[in-house]
Amino acid sequence: MNVVVILETLRRHVTNGFYIAYLALIAIVALGASNFDKPASLWPTLIGALAIICGAGVIGPEFSSGTLQLVLVKPVNRAIYLLSRVAGVVLAVWIGAGVGAVCEIVGRLAWGRAAYAGIGLTLLNAMCDAILTVALLALLGSVTRAYFNVAIYFAVRFTFGVMPLIIGMLRSSRNDLGQFLKEYRDIDKVLDIVERNLFPDVLPRFDRNWTLMVLANAAVALLLACIAFRKREVPYGAD
């Protein structure tokens, strides 16, 4: 890892007005939700969104702006550069998660609510989930330009969301495809497994299998991103 790249990436985020405003939003929401019975009920969703927003710019925009070309003429290992950028973005998201957890705990102390159980574990799970989200966006960013990575990410996520509905409709038709889908009902399970692997819900408790799934998938996504990025042509100039 390159500490300079990590710190510079982090600096870019923490000095960004939108990022600061978003942290304020997380803090307000976490404080507001601290009066709820269920701990860590709202801010983890905002952390998921923050991971997508920050992850969108891991590498894609640098292709288009020409920044990447300037960076890579220096003797920098491409994979190390990519991983350092990912680490910087993940740290920025983790700061957001920390703000959410701390504000909720402070709020619960103020309200006199002792229900802290689950906040720490939700925080850890949200941090793991952030690594996966940023890793997936880095993988997509290493093969696309600008913000296409986030467009593909949302398209895939949406597709998996509506797929059960579409398959259900197709199944009710009497054509060959309908018959095929009726016969092979395991297709639903396979789609469900893929969706859970790519876009897992943040759990409010420790689950060894969930944690290993998220971290293993993130590591594979980062490895694939590095492999794609090492051979990627870096054209000069903006689109």
């Binding site: 269920k38 890579l72 003797p75 920098v76 290992n77 491409r78 994979a79 190390i80 991983l83 399970k189 469900d192 497994i193 859970r196 897992p200 819900d201 759990l203 409010p204 408790r205 060894r208 299998n209 969930w210 290993l212 799934m213 971290l215 293993a216 590591a219 594979v220 980062l222 490895l223 590095c226 492999i227 090492r230 051979k231």
Partner: protein, 157 residues
């Protein structure tokens, strides 16, 4: 040329970490939990909905009441058995829904609506449903461990 090759090399450490994590993930799926001393992991209704979505496992809704004697029998003779508990934890997200009508005069709206939705007329009632809430299998009353296992098997299939 050597410098360019170095610039494009994928770090061995990343490859090792990825292999290690994937290996650990596969191992964790293969290693079975201690079945003899297992206990059913009952979760809250809110947590159950999230867990069912994220794990894809069906739900086991156990409608019970503190005063219900057959429920205590079910707890002791079925749920307290390690083998059964391990099978439940492996295949289902288990939720215990305790009726408070007799003690408090009414149930919380969540419990009342679930009882209405699944037409709970007595205790114990065991309702197996998929993550979308569709009914898979049902058992009313305590009819022994074997009958419970038969119903549970039909829900797993």
């Amino acid at each position: 040329m050597a410098r360019i090759r170095d610039q494009r090399a994928v770090p061995a450490l990343l490859i090792a970490i990825a292999l290690l994590l994937v290996g650990a993930r596969v191992a964790s799926l293969l290693i079975k939990p201690d079945r003899e001393n297992a206990q059913v992991r009952w979760v809250s209704l809110e947590e159950a909905a999230m867990l069912a979505r994220s794990t894809g496992k069906p739900l086991l809704l156990y409608f019970t009441a503190d005063w219900c004697t057959p429920c205590h029998q079910l707890d002791a003779e079925v749920f307290a058995k390690g083998e059964v508990a391990a099978a439940i934890n492996e295949n289902f997200v288990a939720v215990k829904i305790v009726d408070r009508q007799r003690e408090e005069g009414q149930n919380t709206p969540d419990i009342a609506s679930l009882q209405q939705r699944y037409n709970v007329r007595g205790f114990p009632t065991l309702q197996f449903v998929d993550p979308m809430g569709n009914e898979l299998a049902r058992m009313e009353g305590f009819r022994g461990r074997e009958e419970f296992e038969r119903v549970m098997e039909s829900a797993i299939r």
